[in-house]
Amino acid sequence: MKKLFILGITVLMFVLVLTGCQSNAGDVKNPSKQQKGANPTGNITIAGSTSVQPLAEELAGAFADKYPDVRIDVQGGGSSVGVQSAKDGVADIGNSSRDLKDSEKAYNLYEYTIAKDGIAIVINPSNQVDEITSDQIKKIFAGEITNWNDLGGKDAVITVINREEGSGTRGAFEDIVMKDAAFIGSAIIQPSTGAIKQTVSTDPDAIGYISMGSMDSGVKGLMIDGAQPNSDNVLNGSYKISRPFLMLTKDEPQGAVKAFLDFIFSQEGQDIVGQEFIKVK
């Protein structure tokens, strides 16, 4: 009896090990098998920028409430992964939080700007500095300005906090603010928006950059070239540090993917975008 039991357990374990290996690769193609007119069904896999991820998840949640037959799976990985996944067909939609590079434009992906995001330059709320120019930001992150008293603040060394190489936010910041200048090598690297906020909110001399949508009362967003970091200023162009949120597909979207993109550009979808980011419609 006991031996039979052990045998049963072993067989069960074996079966579990085998089934665990089963992939769901077959599901990816489903969205293309849609008949016209019917409610969309199938699975959508989304991968890419970790900046777009929270928004994509929220949109996916709202979409799933309307169309319960569609399952959306949102993964991170970064903008480069998003572009690559869309190109390779690993994901139905690839997310990117930066414009495509020339090498990536050659993939001829379908490109949809679903939202815009401003990058806020954040400091500790106790810091007296309120305003800064783009040129000064560049000099701070390049290591040319190192003390707050050069910016009208108290005499204290600036703690520069940077994101890791490959981060979409860092890439956008580098493109928009740094241009050809190199980052100072001794800047603290924090690998997430949350870690940057935590650091800036506890270090009175810190400066970092985060997505405008992630700002909260723990940090103070600086005015840049006279413009407050808010969505109106991003849309009217006076706040310069902003970036697009792109969704990319390999083929012309159809079926569930098309329905999802249509939903994002609908009033309802854009209202969700508007909660934290900047609407495009």
């Binding site: 039979l4 045998l7 072993t10 990985g77 890791e164 800047a187 603290i188 690297i189 924090q190 650091t199």
Partner: protein, 284 residues
Amino acid sequence: MRSHEKWVQGILFILATTAVLTVLAITFFIFSEGLPIMVDRGVTGFIGSTRWEPLSGSFGILGMIIGTIQITLGAIALGVPVGLACAVYLAEIADRRLEKILRPGIELLAGIPSVVYGFFGLSVVVPFLREHFPGNGFSILAGSIILAIMILPTVVNISENSIRSVPGDYRSASLALGASHWQTILRVILPAARSGIAASVILGMGRAIGETMAVIMVTGNVTKVAGSIFDPARTLTGNIAIEMGYAAGEHREALFATGVILFLIIMVLNFSTTRFSRKAGDVK
């Protein structure tokens, strides 16, 4: 019944070998992904260079090797004396009641998830260092302090075991010769247990080198070589964890190559532990 047993045996054999096969597969995978770029860049471009700019094609990990060593040595310097003292106290001095409080406390340390240590470091240790020492708090010292706490259970448990396994005759003989309890501990018991203690230090080092999450949160992750313990630094594990999500092409290979170096360091440590514990066995 016979045929049943054969079946069970066969299946158990397959399941048992999966563990070994997994190790082999992981080793093969890491090396096959990481070696090409190491060969391509050579020793000078990879291990011998401190320039880590993956997006512009520089993959020097010397800064991180040094950072790993600095932070680990710091953790050993802070953690081992405390851990050893704790082991001596538990094995030689504490009475049952105290032991019942101390031991679960130390074992609890081993059960705390590393991200919690990291968060503790980020919200307590880093601000404390920022206020009382030069620099901005994100530093080798912060990493060493957190790791010193994390390796305590390893150091305490293994050292205590080896102290307890010193034959009672040694203790009796020393006391009979008129040595005090303290002299006996210092001159007889600790030397007799030294191989086990050394093994505990090496295992602690392994734990410290392998730790990732907690370290990322407090060391500042700068790839430049640190000049003092108040400067930030990046570890090998941190490098992989921070950049893996984005890496593609050569960058990804370079992270695997970082894994190869880490793998070699851990292998050397593991082999030296087995050597030490074998010696410890000889003493008995």
